[in-house]
């Protein structure tokens, strides 16, 4: 193994140890991270789908965007921790850690992308696997993305064994006609709608 590759290995393990101190313990936070990639890719429309199927023993999360996309070579490299589009650091850990988390419980991470058309990230987990981290605060993730990026059209979908919750931000922003989403009464409306929608999907 060459000198610099060995140094990179040590750096990676050091990063892993550092990251464990502030590790991502919820799938909903991984989802937030992936959706932020779509925002960075200048997407206008982003669809997030989370599907839990107990009979197939699967938990699937999917983020589809119409952003700038990636060429084939980049799609292969994005799961390398030492490849990143950011200029502030030489590591991008989001996708590599998510891939690891999926493979640790019989799952997979699949990325499809077309330059100038968009990207689709699909991650699947074995739902009952003991190493599968909890879904966590999905409503919190949806709300953060929506409020911080009100110009993007968001489609949130959450389904558990056929019970479905769907939220589309476009009819909401159209009805508001320019009123900010951070108007307190609008925040209450959105928070209650999304929190109750997610909660009712979990518990029939």
């Amino acid at each position: 193994m060459g000198g610099s590759a060995l140094i990179n290995c040590h750096r990676f393990y050091a990063l892993c140890r550092a990251a464990k101190r502030v590790s991502v313990r919820e799938l909903a936070l991984h989802l937030l991270d992936i959706a932020e990639n779509s925002v960075a890719a200048k997407a206008q429309n982003i669809t997030i789908s989370v599907n839990e199927d107990s009979s197939a023993d699967k938990l699937e999360m999917c983020v589809i965007d119409d952003g700038i996309g990636m060429d084939e070579a980049t799609v292969v490299r994005v799961v390398d921790p030492f490849y990143t589009s950011r200029t502030t650091r030489k590591v991008g850990l989001g996708l590599p850690f998510l891939k690891q988390a999926a493979e640790a419980c019989n799952g997979s991470l699949q990325i499809q992308s077309t330059l100038r058309k968009g990207t689709q990230v699909k991650v699947t987990f074995q739902r009952s696997n003991i190493d599968r981290m909890p879904l966590g605060d999905l409503a919190g993730t949806f709300l953060s993305l929506l409020i911080a990026n009100p110009d993007i059209n968001w489609d949130f979908n959450y389904a558990v064994d056929g019970r479905e919750f769907k939220f589309e931000s476009l009819p909401v922003t159209q009805a508001l006609e320019g009123i900010s989403l951070t108007e307190p009464s609008v925040l209450t409306y959105l928070r209650e709608l999304i929190e109750s929608g997610v909660a009712e999907t979990v518990f029939a």
Binding site: S144, E177, P184, S185, R191
Partner: protein, 122 residues
């Protein structure tokens, strides 16, 4: 998909908001920026954001813009929250827990008093 009744509720909220007199913060338009890079998310940025939105709701603070930014290269200090009030220079806070986020909203954004303990030089 919100049903027709919910959209009507929204339109009512819109009309009420248009009529309401805007209560601006201490000295001008307030902008709160939360860093949402991978490092920020891992350190708890989403929960800081939720605390900021909770404060806006519970204290009925209108006219506050809440946006996000990517990694700014200070990963060890995440979660990072920046506040810009009117023409004043941007103030950057580090290691912002939900509790500190609430303090920033109530003391800095509402009253104009920077929370010096948690400011980080950028």
């Amino acid at each position: 998909m919100p049903n027709v009744k919910s959209l009507d509720d929204l339109k009512r909220l819109r009309d009420e908001a248009l009529e309401k007199r805007k209560v601006k913060s201490a000295s001008g338009q307030a902008q709160v920026i939360v860093a949402m890079g991978t490092c920020g998310i891992a350190a708890g940025a989403r929960d800081a954001m939720k605390a900021i939105l909770d404060t806006i709701e519970s204290e009925s603070l209108t006219g506050i813009s809440v946006t996000q930014t990517g990694c700014i290269g200070l990963c060890e200090r995440e979660p990072i929250v920046q506040v810009v009030i009117g023409d004043q220079p941007k103030v950057t806070y580090g290691k912002v827990t939900p509790e500190i986020a609430r303090r920033i909203m109530n003391e800095h954004v509402v009253k104009g008093n920077i929370v010096a303990d948690h400011v980080i030089p950028v």
